[in-house]
Symmetry: C2
Subunit: 340 residues, 2 copies
Amino acid sequence: MSLKNDLLLRAARGEKTERTPIWLMRQAGRILPEYRAVRERLSGFKELVETPELAAEVTIQPVDLLGVDAAIIFSDILVVPDAMGLPYELIEKVGPRFEKTIRSASDMDGIRIADPDDISYVYDAIKITKKALNDRVPLIGFSGAPWTLFAYMVEGGGSKTFSEPKRMLFQNPELAHRLLDMITESTIAYLKRQVEAGTDLIQIFDSWAGILAPDYYREFSLKYIKRICTAIDTVPVTVFAKGAWFALEDMADLDCQTIGLDWNMDATKVRSILPNKTLQGNLDPCALYGSFADIKKETRTMLDAFGDHPHIANLGHGVYPDTDPEKVKCFIESVKELSA
Amino acid sequence: MSLKNDLLLRAARGEKTERTPIWLMRQAGRILPEYRAVRERLSGFKELVETPELAAEVTIQPVDLLGVDAAIIFSDILVVPDAMGLPYELIEKVGPRFEKTIRSASDMDGIRIADPDDISYVYDAIKITKKALNDRVPLIGFSGAPWTLFAYMVEGGGSKTFSEPKRMLFQNPELAHRLLDMITESTIAYLKRQVEAGTDLIQIFDSWAGILAPDYYREFSLKYIKRICTAIDTVPVTVFAKGAWFALEDMADLDCQTIGLDWNMDATKVRSILPNKTLQGNLDPCALYGSFADIKKETRTMLDAFGDHPHIANLGHGVYPDTDPEKVKCFIESVKELSA
């Protein structure tokens, strides 16, 4: 393997790069008319996730159309709960909905550690993508963090408070740990297969990190992320725990290369908390609603905040679906120009 | 005025108290069967807010039933937008919905600085409550922070991202400031009337503080909170900005007595950031799903974190509606017992 553009991987390893690499969370998705054209032909989001040729096609679109320095495999974090025996559907404009939830020990009947073979459509998509990318840029694989997957499996869908999964932490912590352990084992096996199939870097998304108090986050989330980081030892790992500013100091101990920051986090401060980690992020996705001139200005402010710390540019969250792709391009080009 | 129990006010002024005072955000509400009995007789939530005798009745319920050290007037932060010319309704299990929203300069037609007389039902409720409380405990008045009210007025309801109000900050900051200024003037006049009617302390709720990047929070929220704090100079003021851990250092400069903490914030750290402020909070509302023994244990951990810093005990957010009132009482009694 010799990638033509390996900026992302070198930055992840903490090496100096000729400019800052950039990719965007949710870069493959509704912002692109070309994505929507593929999506419209299908019955739903899950059909796209489960059809390797099409998942590969939309994975590559932003590399061609936006000029990002990495592709991220088009998939969904909830394929793991699905393979554990908890099927879900994605309802347009609402979000995921599980027909069954885990609220008690008896709800664990039929829940198993996922057989990674049951998610082979993802590895197939990775292989097709790698071949089509032809080493132009690295391919990122990903999973949800165990706590975030647990939150969905217990709540049964999205929520403002996720009070059901949190209730379990307070009422039945043993059951919570049992389920978190099974999710972690499932995730490790799944991610190892993603790496075997060809991904160059793994990102772990802890989308609901921010709803736990610090002690509970350490106990019910970070401990499991740590196990995953240690298990994935052949490619760099990025941990993005949205809202977990309170856990940044603890993240210094994770066996991972990069920590993702959301837009609330001030990079000038985080640099001193995490001197040994590459940092990723963190423009407010809403900054892309601004004018081209303002986006360039905001990009400069962001780059200045990271300074000469190893940095992978990104938004502080997934790009919002109603963002003008030209504004996304402006952000990408500004990073390339201003960091050179 | 000589309150029989003035623990809250003395703690707010930073004085040593014989024990830690306690009240709960949303203590008057769905957790109490006595509240639900009043509510069921009415057409909706707004009827309760706008009927002073009933608002007073539910305001006093937690004082009698739970033994809290303060009452907080039963009302809604959205009465201010309503009085500014933007009516809303509260839809059961969904939240507030505005029929009109502010997205452009022309949407400002008909929007005015509120005439505080239009919200006189709140002052009437305060007067009735004060009389009925008979100086047993202080009465807290409140408003939303301008940024939070702005977020609802522009978005038109709740949202995961509040991308519409944020869009305005990036696309039309002048219009945003114009509206924020009008909300601030409306709020100051409204709060002054609450104080005249008899409230002993004012709390400002910035529920959506956590969705702004630090620079934007300072520019579009904190600046306006500062004006309110300066204007309300006859009673203590508490600022509760949920998720705004990044702004704690800036809050040291606010002309207010108390800063509310959510459950993500580690009081042992915040004490050194805000040595001159009383701190309020911050048990995770979900901790009240635990056993009585666990609630007592969690309460002790919380009290230890605040140590001998001036402290008003509370949850880190409003009490969740499905919480057992006996568990709420356990929290209240644990604070009283363990802090004595």
